[in-house]
């Protein structure tokens, strides 16, 4: 493959980066190839196909971006929810980039399956937590309404039931943050695994390069 074609294709695969960032990547690898005297088959043997190189660059890019963003002190101006949202967006993007990168080579299929299963578990846990908490809330409301309905017949039962209902409702204030922490922890474990896999993936170009 002509070097020019290789780098044109590389540019095309660097989705999600700005023009400047792409220029920078291109300049670095062009120069590297020229200095190392790489062209044709040797270029592909060293870097992988344009697609594979692009995906490795993107994976490495997003992992480091994520690490740096984690270490940096939070902006004074932005609120906690805003930071949380951007963190989630960043990590989902990282997850996506890693999975898309891994797809380029057969040897990583087990890793992809594990990641997707992990994601499934996260969603499952989140849904379960939400359903349980909502059930708790409705039970509480139901009890309170029931208590008001029977207050004329037996105020003792009404008081008991209403109190129970209020406890269920009051528990919500503790239960939601706890549920949130549970979901976040499961997600964090998954993201650590994704980063670990991503680092392994970017380490060496030889990840089933030969089938190019």
């Amino acid at each position: 493959m002509e070097n020019n074609i290789y780098f044109t294709q590389l540019r095309g695969h660097l989705f999600g980066l700005t023009e400047d960032e792409r220029d920078d990547v291109l300049a670095f690898y062009r120069e590297y190839a020229a200095d190392a005297g790489l062209s044709g088959e040797k270029l592909i043997a060293e870097f992988g196909t344009p697609k594979q190189l692009a995906r490795r660059v993107l994976v490495d890019y997003s992992i480091r971006y994520d690490d740096v963003a984690d270490q940096e002190a939070p902006d004074e101006g932005s609120s906690a929810t805003k930071q949380f949202k951007s963190r989630i967006r960043r990590q989902l993007n990282l997850l996506w980039v890693v999975v898309v990168g891994l797809v380029t080579s057969v040897v990583w299929i087990p890793a992809i399956i594990v990641i997707l299963l992990g994601l499934f578990v996260v969603v499952l846990v989140a849904v379960a937590v939400i359903l349980i908490l909502l059930a708790l809330l409705f039970t509480g409301l139901f009890q309170v309404v029931g208590a008001i309905a029977i207050i004329g017949q037996s105020w003792q039962t009404a008081l008991f039931q209403g109190g129970l209902g209020l406890i269920w409702i009051g528990l919500q204030f503790i239960a939601w943050p706890v549920g949130f922490v549970v979901v976040r922890t499961v997600f964090r474990v998954l993201m650590n695994f994704v980063k670990y896999i991503g680092r392994r993936f970017t380490r060496k170009p030889q990840g089933g390069v030969k089938h190019a």
Partner: protein
Amino acid sequence: MAMQLSSDLMDGLVLALLSDEDLYGYALTKQVQERFSVSESTMYPVLRRLKSKGWVTTYDEPFEGRNRRYYKISDEGRSEVVRIQDEWRTFSGNVNEIMMAERGDNGE
């Protein structure tokens, strides 16, 4: 080598190499690769990061009808090297103390 270089260590190694002389991408990668197995796609983000932190600057120099981008350590980069050296001294000292300690039951 099975042990992996953390981002911090990688920064330190690259900065240490650059504090001896300005280097271009290929030469720098080769020097790191002499001892560690890192791919070119690892080097690129490291250099980008060092640059965005202001620890290195770049300049282009013509070479055989094209440009070579040289990486040069900045003053902030030099103090960063000192900081990483200090951390590494403590860290490796602690590891050695435990890992390399003379064990009584070790064929003495």
